[in-house]
Symmetry: C2
Subunit: 422 residues, 2 copies
Amino acid sequence: MTSAELSAAFLLQTFVILAICRLVGMLARRLGQPQVVGEMVAGVILGPSLFGLVFPAWQQVIFPKDSLKLLYVLAQFGVGLYMFLVGTEFKTDLFRSRARSAVSVSVAGMVAPFVLGGFLALWLWKVPGLFSEKATQFEAVLFLGAAMSITAFPMLARIIYERGITGSSLGTLALAAGAIDDATAWCVLAVVLASFGGGNLMAIQAIGGGILYGLITLTIGRRLLRKFGEIAEREGHLNPTLLAATLMLLLAGSWITDAIGIHSIFGGFILGIAMPRGFFGQQLRKQLEPLAVVFLLPMFFTFSGLNTRLDTVNSLQLLLIGIVVLVTAVIGKGVACWLAARLQGESNRTALAVGTLMNARGLMELIIVNIGLQKGIIQPALFSIMVMMAIITTLMTSPLFELVYRRQTNTATGEDTATAGA
Amino acid sequence: MTSAELSAAFLLQTFVILAICRLVGMLARRLGQPQVVGEMVAGVILGPSLFGLVFPAWQQVIFPKDSLKLLYVLAQFGVGLYMFLVGTEFKTDLFRSRARSAVSVSVAGMVAPFVLGGFLALWLWKVPGLFSEKATQFEAVLFLGAAMSITAFPMLARIIYERGITGSSLGTLALAAGAIDDATAWCVLAVVLASFGGGNLMAIQAIGGGILYGLITLTIGRRLLRKFGEIAEREGHLNPTLLAATLMLLLAGSWITDAIGIHSIFGGFILGIAMPRGFFGQQLRKQLEPLAVVFLLPMFFTFSGLNTRLDTVNSLQLLLIGIVVLVTAVIGKGVACWLAARLQGESNRTALAVGTLMNARGLMELIIVNIGLQKGIIQPALFSIMVMMAIITTLMTSPLFELVYRRQTNTATGEDTATAGA
């Protein structure tokens, strides 16, 4: 494909992605699901499980093989930019006041699914066709443990954001616990990947580098960034040089965290937390959010959907394994987090809401299982089972959340919430 | 390169592009040039003429071959989005009141350089190593005529925009004349390409299709789009569904004009003109402009710079031919447009300013000569001469414009103009 052909394919592809994401998003909202779930399902619809199955020739026209790398890069950048913006709304004061609860919930949400997932792996490792033959039992345990412990952090953040409860104690608790869990799960994944081929150095680099990046960004970085806020407030607007400097920091932070082996989105999220609050953050979100949310994020959902092949789960045994995986996932994450929050003295309503939110696996799960498939740790059938688990836990979240936590007014994307409970 | 490697390369590359574009942009502003000229020069600096010459290994690291298609697609999309936004500020009322002047200036700015360029081609066609051996004399005349007639429309629009004179009579006259000239030049280019291999059908399709697209968009399209403006005004903001719908129309318009053989940016520009004015347009620019101008447009300048090889002009004869091409270009476009505006009764100051602005060739020229090189109509030496002509006419524009037209206050990117006359 020449550059000109790729450019034309990009226009057509992005048109279709936006059209289907908005359409399914509208339908989802009518069914009481948030826009984000609609877009996640839209991604699967555009993939080989539906669009590719029914109209294979059209699927090839809209998503030619040469265009997928471009879609991947924009999807990654979009979710990185989005997580950065979520970080700029992260209230660290509130986090500190809730630190004990947040740590408890995140430890429970990490240890319980990890142990349950590990035991499950001991069984599944012996079932042919799930794990690859190269994977040792130890690697299988670590991988499934990490994959079970993941939280749909961007999804959780978006639900919290769409409900307009980003700054509330529930929002902060769930965001903090989700962030800690995901960071830990990615570190475990780094250990798995290191054990599987990269060497121990890779794991040390990922964990040590990630901690170092976070410390520097949140101390020296935060202090230096205050200047940005002062300039913006003095001038009364966020000038192009400040915006460019901010974007450069985001690109650098994403590149560094990617290079040391944890996911690039953590670089953006931590940088977002270090950004000045108030006027600066407000102006920054006004300038970046529309394109990030409406244009780039749908690409992320679509790319994940294109890798989802629901047709590979084709026997009764695999279906039963799928159900066991799903139940284990819900008990290990949702129930464990609810119990942990209760034990820390949170109200039952808040604890249930936290458990519900933490239980969603969403796209982070898709990312981790895609890495597992690509690196040859798991095989297509287990991949598909994990994808189904991710989709079902994600679809469960909104109705359950509505049940336990009454709908809030949304400040930023009003329309997305207006019909969410309808 | 795997998707993950490409994604990491994209982060690093975009960081370098933003850094160099802002740095050279700041230097340019100190020298009395606008930000846009700085970014254009930054592109050349990043290309094989400087960065690639001095640090070839580093150039390979920052701009690996596999990443260039991605850069091309984003550059095209960025300039398309930017032209769409310029279109939303295009005041058609003012255009109508100035129609006679605009048509005169654009006819002069088209016929004079086309005739002069054509005569030049009769001579240059016989000089070995300039035109390809496959090109007939007729094709050489048409190609050089079209290439001479091009106006740096996005560049002209950006200078007008940076000076905050988009809505003024000078701004509208220059934009209208520039748009007509460029559209005509692209149609002539379509004829050349059709004659060179594509068949007559391609030329008819490009010209007929372009006219049809413009008519439908500006009549039925404009009427239907009024609804967008009404919804936004009623709700008091531009909701995500409206933004998504607008982006979908932009993608569709760009795809259609690309498919029929005129450049995709015309699709976006014409759609922009058809968009509702007032509150809707204001909100749309607030949501899209920051990323388009600060993030995507530098990619466009960089991609063009990467294709610029100044080292191929390596003999006295080629240098002399280069000077003749430059002088012909300035007389054919700048002087002719000034005379045409004077004859239509414009003040000398306005006429000189219009001539100066129309004389800039900028990136549109780079695009047209890249097509010529890629399709095998011209050879690297003539390509480089044309690139030098484009750069020099573009560099001339701002100081001359400052001389004849006093600096205006800028409304949108204040800092970019604040030091422009310093």
